[in-house]
Amino acid sequence: MSIATVKPISQGARILSYAGALLETMDAALASHANAFIMGQGVDDFKGIFGSTTGLAEKYGAARVFDVPLMEEGMTGVAIGAALVGDYPITTHIRADFSFLAMNQIINLASKYRYMFGGLMSCPMLIRIVVGRSWGQGAQHSQSPQATFAHYPGLTVVMPSSSQAILDMYPAIINRHPGPVISIEHRLLYNLDFTVSPSEKRVPLTSYVAREGSDVTVVATSVMVLEALRAAQYVQDEAGISAEIVDLNSISHPDWDLVAASLAKTGRLVIADTSWLEYGVAAEVCRQLVVRDPRLLRQPPAMLGMAPAPCPTAKSLEDIYYPSQHETVDAILTQVKGEGHGIALPVERSMTEGYKRFRGPF
């Protein structure tokens, strides 16, 4: 399925799925960087991390793309050791939740090595973790730990929301970034098609305006950027509201001035994140704004995230656990027109049903 693209298809543009963009960048990493390698459970099997590594083991050999035992902590430590001697390791976790088993290596070691040794050590590496959602992923296959990782200096945390974001960021990360990067990919995005253009010169590893507008600012992450884009179109069509959407994109190093500038223009804010609001991205957005000027906010912002509970498995609960398209639109309308805005809300509920019927099994 094709996603609404903001601009008309330009010169050299093409359609590329999120998984396809991942596969291209993984392939390019191995082709261009003699010491790059990919390891993770199942990276060399026929499913190839949802199509993002398929065929690479055959193309580059088992020394460069290989399966590992169940050993999240050990694997991450192995990656650090390889990075310390000049390799560029790329590791994968098919669910972000499993990265908690590697937390010690990620936070206590990788994020600190450069500073702790006064610049003598460095471990550039890419840790790809996939957020699960829908089809009964349940409490242990659905977490989105961007705030957790971004709290720790030394880590760079990104959440690409489109194929373009991957094409723009991954080569920059792999070829030039000096430290460990955690990329939080979203399972619901993998099978979506996006228009990508070679000419787009997005500044990588920071935030950007995904849609320009003047009435309200929506700061969004990952799949919520798509939800926001859809909602923006709806409120434009139904209520003539012009919503500006900022894709935070980098969670550890966002362009906060960009966010503040948007707020200065609109004065109204909706934050849409893939995790819990408490101690999450929404909190840091608020902090950055009030540190600049509390008056940037003319009224309390609206915030969309997971309900304050572990993720339930039942579909009926999951549907109300995640913010729906309905709620996203309502939040924007309420910011601009106030409670009781009287504008009809869309019926579609969420990404899950809106763009793709994600049917598992995984």
């Binding site: 409490a139 339930p312 609960l317």
Partner: protein, 308 residues
């Protein structure tokens, strides 16, 4: 009791598991069960042999692949189907789904979808039993892949040091998702366990419910006497890792191994006995499915309960 009577009892339960999972396969395209399912078809003999070798109040800590253990331990069938359907009548009101079956009333403790994560739980329960002088044991059920995780080492070491009544029960289907054991493990489980001084045994005939039951009884007796034990049962997963299909066409494994196993599978070989039990079991299942269908879906009232 004669072996024959025991065999019939075990067979009936094993068949129930298989028929339940076949019903799940049949239902799956309807999207009534919207959650990942990890089928144990081919592995039923392990669950029934083990659970029959335990006492009712022994506790089992299990995994995402636990339809078999849930049923073998005596969990309610209607509550199970309602759980898979994500309904309020489910064991956990739909919050758990297939990956997190539990039935504390019959000793099936929490099942986790994080590989190896319940292994130390069984050790902890056993530690408690020992301190309180309670004559119960705890069983950690896990797959062969789970033994690769660091926590397996930590759990074995601690259990051996503290001499707690825990049975480590490994279902060795030779696969972790699509990876074969030799590319994942440099060790053999028996020698590895022995290096901690933990008694152990490997049962190659995992299709044989009575053999599994006997091995469990013997292991459990030693565990009750106050030492951990590693019991490894070789078995075979017929279906794909997760989901209801077959996956031989992906060529990561051949059909031969599974076919050889099927040639000994009592639920296939003993076709006559299947027909003896099938009608009543199908009725049980139909009733459970009907219960699930009639059970209401949870909603706003349930979303934020039981968080803390």
């Amino acid at each position: 009791m004669k072996d024959e009577a025991i065999y019939r009892r075990l067979f009936r339960t094993a068949l129930l598991i298989r028929l339940v999972e076949e019903r799940i396969i049949a239902l799956y395209p309807s999207d009534k069960i919207q959650s990942p399912v990890h089928l144990s078809i081919g592995q039923e003999s392990v669950a029934v042999g083990v659970c029959d070798g335990l006492r009712p109040d022994d506790l089992v800590f299990a995994t995402y692949r636990s339809h078999g253990f849930y049923i073998a331990k005596g969990g309610r069938l209607d509550a199970m189907f309602a759980e898979l359907y994500g309904r309020t009548g489910g064991i956990s009101g739909g919050k758990a789904g297939s990956m997190h079956l539990t039935a504390p009333e019959v000793g099936l403790m929490g099942s986790s979808a994080v590989v190896a994560s319940t292994i130390p739980h069984a050790v902890g329960a056993a530690l408690s039993f020992k301190r309180r002088g309670v004559d119960r044991l705890a069983v950690a059920v896990f797959g062969d892949g789970a033994t690769e995780e660091g926590v397996y080492h930590e759990s074995l070491n601690f259990a051996a040091l503290m001499k707690v009544p825990v049975l480590f029960l490994c279902e060795d289907n030779g696969l972790a998702v699509h990876s074969h054991r030799p590319v994942r493990q440099a060790y053999r489980l028996a020698e590895h366990a022995a290096s901690y001084g933990i008694a152990n045994r490997r049962v190659e005939e995992g299709w044989d419910m009575l053999a599994v039951r006997r091995a469990t009884l013997e292991a459990a007796a030693r565990v009750r006497a106050g030492e951990p034990f590693v019991l490894e049962i070789v078995t075979s997963r017929y279906k794909e890792h997760v989901g209801v299909g077959e996956d031989f066409h992906f060529n990561y494994r051949t059909k031969d191994g599974v076919d050889a196993w099927k040639g000994r599978d009592p639920l296939i070989v003993d076709a006559q006995l299947v027909e003896v039990f099938r009608p009543e079991l199908e009725r049980e299942i139909a009733a459970a499915v009907a219960f699930a269908e009639a059970s209401p879906a949870p909603g706003h009232a349930e979303l934020l309960t039981d968080v803390i």
